[in-house]
């Protein structure tokens, strides 16, 4: 046998006590949804994991009402110190249940267990720990003394990092004193539902966190609801535009984390082996389902061929397969729909004249799979160099001077992230300065930290998550006017409550 075949090392699913059916988590209790329930499946083999409720407009209204009550009666009155205690408790519970959460995430999303176990879940815990520490220190968030919470936050998260995006949304919102209604993506609701259990275990006051599962209409109902003070959305630019249109002219605050088409720039003096690792991590991490993925590789012409050759050799060692196997590097594509889109754009790449190379891996028969793919000979006008593929597809281009590299890197409607590989510190600083991207990594890629702000320019959205900046997105300076719309909304919600009492 070949040593490199290793033996299968699947993580056990027995740590996961799944129910067959999940309802909505509103006001601290499970309630049935009034929409048509749907199934969540494992993208690795298309098997059904559980039946999940779908929230309609009335369910969303219940959730928002519960969040409003919890905000006004409990959460906004509680001291920051006490809020911090709850958040610390949640963080510890996440650590205690990390194995279960990692298995659930890999099962539902298709990402390799080594990523959910070693990256996602530890980051989720650290996000809660980090913001737990902020809860009693809001005076130091940069908004003056005693900043105020916004109220009820409606949060919509994507399917690529289901639990991590939940943490990015919920942790700062709660630390700042807001209550939340969160809608997870319809293909990956599982870990949010497990998180609802953690919320109960932490004995958080009912209504502080509400989870409403469902598809696009559920999200739209949340965005349109008049009693929501803040919308935080992570997802596609297309949906982000719709949300921005809906929210425009209302009192609602909005932050958007949208798509990206990041440039990963490799200069000829780069630490080459680590750069190759960084390219792999930049685009093949999480099957390329990363909004800040380094999907455009810009290599200095003098080392272009060498880098491509080394990259292909490295990609040939990647293991694709069962996401629950601890030795798997590349898991499944999250959904059939996404797989179709990746296939379509790859075909476009070939039609446009780029040269396609795919890693020689055997694809499982069931489930949604796409081999890591590299396009060389890509021109800046090609669609694969401009559109977000959101899959394991890398477009390689070359450049001669750093001026050209910057021009090519910035030539995109997006501006979320970028990477620079060079041994020369002055060059890194100069190029980073010239790049229009929210995050610029130097000699690394796809690294996240709860203390570091993350967010984009232009079509990649606005607002920042993480760090002090992420807190500011859920706060308003003391004495700031809440606006006419807000007072109108208060009246509306009061009359609604009276109405329901009749």
């Amino acid at each position: 046998m070949s040593f490199l075949d290793y033996a299968p090392a699947p993580e056990s699913r027995s740590v996961l006590a799944l129910r067959e059916e999940y309802g909505l988590f509103i006001d601290g209790a499970w309630v049935p949804g009034r929409g048509e329930p749907f199934q969540t499946i494992s993208p690795a083999d298309e098997s059904v994991i559980a039946r999940v409720a779908s929230g309609n407009e009335a369910d969303v209204a219940d959730a928002v009402a519960a969040a409003r009550r919890a905000y006004e009666r409990v959460w906004s009155k509680m001291s920051g110190r006490d809020r911090g205690k709850y958040l610390f408790r949640i963080a510890r519970l996440i650590q205690e249940r990390s194995r279960e959460l990692a298995v659930a995430e890999s099962l539902d999303n298709g990402k390799p267990i080594k990523e959910s176990r070693d990256v996602d879940v530890p980051l989720v815990a650290s996000w809660f720990f980090s913001y737990a520490g902020w809860a009693d220190k809001l005076d130091y968030a940069g908004l003056g003394a005693s900043p105020k919470a916004l109220g009820v936050a409606g949060q919509i998260i994507p399917w690529n990092f289901p639990l991590l995006m939940l943490a990015w949304k919920i942790a700062p919102a709660l630390a700042a004193g807001n209550t939340v209604v969160l809608k997870p993506a319809e293909t990956t609701p599982l870990t949010a539902l497990l998180f609802a259990d953690i919320v109960r275990q932490a004995e958080l006051p009912p209504g502080v966190v509400n989870i409403v599962t469902g598809a696009g209409e559920t999200g739209a109902a949340l965005v349109e609801h008049p009693d929501v003070d803040k919308i935080a959305f992570t997802g596609s630019t297309e949906v982000g535009r719709r949300i921005a249109r809906t929210v425009a002219g209302t009192h609602k605050r909005l932050t958007l984390e949208l798509g990206g088409k990041a440039a990963n720039i490799v200069f000829d003096d780069a630490p080459i082996d680590q750069a190759v690792e960084g390219i792999v991590n930049g685009i093949f991490f999480n099957q390329g389902h990363v909004c800040c993925a380094g999907s455009r590789l810009l290599v200095q012409e003098s080392i272009h061929d060498e880098v491509v050759e080394r990259l292909k050799a490295r990609l040939a060692t990647l293991r694709l397969g069962d996401p629950l196997d601890k030795n798997t590097d590349i898991g499944a594509i999250n959904s059939r729909e996404q797989l179709e889109r990746i296939r379509e754009l790859s075909d476009v790449g070939v039609a446009e004249g780029a040269e396609r190379w795919s890693a020689p891996c055997e694809l499982p028969e069931a489930g949604f799979w796409f081999a890591p793919t590299v396009f060389t000979g890509v021109e800046t006008s090609h669609r694969i160099a401009r559109e977000e593929v959101f899959g394991p597809v890398l477009s390689v281009m070359s450049f001669r001077t750093s001026k050209e590299a910057v021009a090519k890197a910035n030539n995109t409607p997006y501006g979320l992230s970028a990477g620079i590989w060079s041994e020369k510190g002055s060059r890194i600083l100069a190029v980073a300065d010239a790049l229009r991207a929210g995050v610029v990594w130097a000699n690394t890629f796809n690294r996240f930290d709860p203390t570091s702000p993350f967010g984009g320019y232009r079509e990649s959205g606005f607002g920042r998550e993480g760090g002090r900046h992420g807190l500011a997105a859920y706060l308003t300076p003391a004495g700031a006017s809440t606006g006419r719309a807000a007072s109108a909304r208060r009246t509306a919600s009061t009359s609604r409550r009276k109405g329901s009492a009749k």
């Binding site: 040593f3 075949d5 082996d273």
Partner: protein, 335 residues
């Protein structure tokens, strides 16, 4: 023969360097090699260390580890008796299980080579054929602080006594001072001293003592230098300096031999030495070798473990796989 061999090494270096192997040419070349990003290297090593190895792969790995070990005793207090005991263990690592492979070599000080050869008897030979080789440390091991004449005499003595492999140390002082030409010439001279009377040559392992080189860039440069000067193996450490072998250091050396193979088609061996004590640790090295240089490197003429306490842990693990339960330290032999 010796002269021809040396001329060949020099010609190859000349072709790769584009000039004579003097300080200036070597500096230009070694400093022109892409650098190593320490954070990235360590992250890659850490991720390789998370590979999960289950039963069937583990059984294969444990046997392979035994066959890659240089069973070593390098104490001032070594006696002929101790060496004979070491040899007995090398030939039959686990007396309770005759299927246990032999180790690759025994590694001793030069003055004990004769004792080791005699003790090995018919078991002496090429580790690729399942026999046990004799390796000797030479060149004023472990400090390397002696004149070239002394180092060469030390080497010639060990070769004359019958050593199959010579583990030499580089002059770290000269290397750190940037006198690359001097280090090159010393390695080349020691290689020449490895020639035997019959025209064959003992294999040369060049110890970089990475714990004294302080940066991965230096490790990479020293690795290139040792290969350019004709080393058959590059070895991390003497075992006398801490830190000895680490996974990131070994990874960076494996990247060098992989690149040298891409450049010249020639395969150079790697030997991490010192500090590898458990099977789990050793398996991580096997994974790193297989995923960096390739599985073909996992043979005694391309990869070795310099370790003395590792063997016993591997034997205990083998017994566990065979019997289903752990025994204790008394179920394997001390050296």
């Amino acid at each position: 023969m010796a002269a021809a061999d040396l001329a060949e090494v020099r010609a190859r270096a000349l072709a790769v360097l584009g000039g004579e192997p003097d300080d200036a040419t070597l500096r230009r070349y070694l400093h022109g090699i892409p650098g190593v990003d320490a954070v990235g290297l360590e992250q890659r090593a850490a991720s390789l260390a998370t590979r999960s190895i289950k039963t069937s792969s583990k059984a294969w790995a444990l046997d392979r580890i035994v066959s890659l070990i240089d069973l070593t005793t390098l104490e001032g207090a070594d006696t002929p008796g101790k060496v004979r005991s070491l040899v007995a263990k090398a030939v039959s690592p686990d007396p309770s299980d005759p299927s246990t492979p032999r180790v690759a070599a025994v590694c001793v000080y030069g003055d004990l080579v004769g004792v080791a050869r005699d003790a090995l008897g018919a078991a002496h030979g090429d580790p690729d054929d399942g026999l046990v080789a004799v390796a000797a440390v030479a060149t004023a091991f472990p400090s390397g602080r002696a004149s070239l004449a002394v180092k060469l005499a030390d080497t010639a003595d060990a070769v004359a006594a019958g050593a199959d492999e010579i583990d030499m140390v580089i002059d770290r002082g000269a290397f750190l001072a940037g006198r690359y030409g001097e280090v090159f010439e010393q390695i080349a001279a020691v290689r020449a001293a490895c020639e035997r009377a019959d025209g064959t040559r003992a294999s040369l392992k060049v110890i970089l003592e990475t714990g004294e080189l302080h940066s991965y860039d230096n490790v990479r440069r020293a690795s290139w230098l040792a290969i350019l000067a004709g080393g058959d193996f590059i070895k991390t450490s003497t075992g006398k300096v801490s830190p000895a072998a680490t996974l990131p250091v070994t990874l960076s050396m494996l990247e060098v031999v992989r690149d040298w193979h891409r450049l010249t088609g020639q395969r150079i061996g790697v030997k991490p030495a010192g500090g590898i004590r458990t099977s789990k640790d050793a398996i991580r090295y096997l994974v790193t070798v297989a995923e960096t240089a390739g599985e073909e490197w996992l043979t005694p003429h391309l990869f070795r473990f310099g370790a003395s306490s590792l063997a016993n842990d591997v034997l205990l693990q083998r017994q566990k796989l065979r019997t289903g339960h752990y025994s204790g330290a008394d179920y394997v032999t001390i050296d």
